[in-house]
């Protein structure tokens, strides 16, 4: 019996061969160390994120999340749902709240679910993994697992948008959340508490359709990280991770900058700090290699 047990919603981008498969790898490693058991929601589907709105109307989109919650309530009864992807978490929790306060929508959603032989009770709290770490596990327990402190690494905690707004982590401010910094310090690395772009939007939703606009914002995020002497950026969001990491060459080409800033997940940091291998920490998933972490991981 694991110390913590959750119904897990991994999300599309974490699947094998998908853009944040490395996130899942490191999360699984991290959870092993913290004795967190993740029971995948069987046959989960896409949450349609926030960009689904053009094609999907309100009800179809809500129904998508309703299906996931219903599946969880059926197969992982009594277990809180945990998501690692900010978009997945947000869409699911929003759907849950919206359906919770609008009976008409709730009824319609269940009518649609019935087509797939499902029923939504909507009694399940939906959490982000960061919430679990901060509110359930806690910094002390995390610290107690650190075998290889990440000494000498200066890390900018980039929280981004959807892990932070509109729900965020309890007790944290939307404008200046501190939990990533605390986590970085807990792991023995050096945080940058007044990193001014920690909640700046990376333009995720527009990365494909409006690359110039989003890359302009990404540039600001990276510049600030360099200005604060960061060795790398850490983030809890797959969209942020991908955007901030993969477009650096294009940004360099466009603005004549020389960005080569590794962008990692908190779970990667923790896996390394907990003494696990580069592979377990999914450092091989970095497009811009996080050498300092590799050195520690060995």
């Amino acid at each position: 019996m694991a110390k913590y047990e959750y119904s897990f919603y991994p999300g599309c981008s974490s699947q094998k061969g998908a853009s944040s498969s490395n996130y899942l790898t490191s999360v699984e490693t991290m959870c092993e160390e913290l004795d967190i058991q993740l029971n995948h929601i069987p046959d989960w589907n896409c949450c349609s994120a926030s960009i689904g709105y053009a094609g999907g109307g309100e009800l179809p989109r809500l129904t998508l999340s309703a299906r996931n919650i219903a599946l969880s309530e059926e197969h992982n009864p009594g277990q809180e749902i945990v998501a690692t992807c900010a978009a997945c978490w947000l869409a699911t929790r929003e759907a849950s709240e919206r359906l919770g306060e609008d009976d008409e929508l709730m009824a319609e959603a269940n009518t649609a679910l019935a087509e797939a032989g499902l029923k939504l009770k909507n009694e399940t709290p939906i959490k982000h993994m960061a919430e679990v770490l901060v509110e359930e596990v806690g910094y002390d327990e995390i610290a107690s697992k650190v075998k290889k402190p990440l000494e000498g690494i200066k890390i900018a905690g980039y929280v981004g948008c959807q892990t932070n707004r509109p729900f965020g982590i309890h007790g944290e401010s939307y404008e200046n959340p501190k939990y990533l910094d605390k986590l970085v310090d807990t792991l023995g690395a050096e945080s940058i508490p007044d990193y001014e772009k920690k909640v700046q939007c990376c333009g995720g939703a527009l990365a494909f359709s409006e690359p110039d606009k989003s890359q302009e914002m990404i540039k600001g995020i990276l510049e600030a990280a360099y200005d604060n002497g960061a060795d790398m950026v850490v983030t809890p969001c797959p969209v942020c991770q991908m955007n901030v990491e993969v477009y650096q060459d294009q940004i360099n080409a466009k603005y004549g900058t020389k960005f080569k800033m590794p962008v990692v997940y908190y779970s990667t940091l923790m896996s390394v700090a907990f003494g696990r291998s580069s592979k377990d920490a999914a450092l091989d998933g970095q497009i811009i290699r996080a050498k300092k972490l590799e050195e520690i991981a060995g």
Partner: protein, 206 residues
């Protein structure tokens, strides 16, 4: 009669009522007190022809065409800055999504609006198999503006693609079949029903 003309018929000069009845969270629009904090909080604000607070005023002023044919709502990146700062608790992000969706349904959204196209592709992609197929999404995305454009974009994105492949964060396997929900028929029936109910609500209003 097109839905659009039907709506014009029904609501005449009262665009606010039309929005309340047909746009996601549209019944919040009346609560705006024109402080402008949303407009000032938007990271892409400078790209909006009409920022949210102005759109709310335009809705009240009955500027139907200007609002629905506007490029502005499509600038929303769902960062939720406006929502958390709004002193009147308007779910502005959702209202913007709702307006964009409504404009598109009525066929009033600006043609070739890139985000609209991408968002549609994204939806088509996920509704097909229940899960997003990033490879196919990427490819269709590059070619959304025709074959020539597509090649260019593909080349431009080549290095990134290779990097992703190398990092095993992209897989050619996805091109064939790829991830999917198992109960695909149930999934499709569910979505179909949801869509029917949604349409019903609209036509009943319309």
């Amino acid at each position: 009669m097109s839905t659009n003309t039907a709506m014009i018929e029904k609501y005449r000069n009262n665009f606010l009522k039309e929005v309340e009845a047909n746009v996601e969270e549209g019944d919040w629009v009346k609560m705006c007190m024109q402080c402008g904090v949303c407009s000032g909080s938007c990271p892409l604000g400078k790209h909006w022809e009409h920022p949210p607070q102005e759109i709310f005023m335009m809705i009240r002023a009955g500027k139907r065409d200007e609002v629905l044919s506007s490029d502005s709502m499509w600038m929303c990146t769902s960062c939720y800055n406006c929502i958390v700062r709004c002193p009147r608790e308007l779910p502005i992000t959702h209202i913007m999504h709702g307006l964009a969706h409504y404009a598109k349904r009525l066929g009033l959204a600006p043609k070739n609006q890139p985000t609209m196209k991408f968002a549609q592709l994204f939806w088509d992609n996920l509704s097909k198999k229940g899960r997003v197929n990033e490879l196919k999404l990427g490819i269709s995305l590059y070619f959304m503006n025709g074959f020539g454009e597509g090649i260019k974009t593909s080349l431009k994105m080549k290095d990134i693609g290779l990097g992703m492949l190398k990092a095993k964060r992209m897989s050619v396997a996805e091109a064939f079949g790829g991830h999917s929900v198992k109960d695909l028929s149930g999934f499709h029936k569910m979505l179909k029903k949801a869509q029917e109910l949604e349409d019903a609500r609209l036509t009943q209003h319309g």
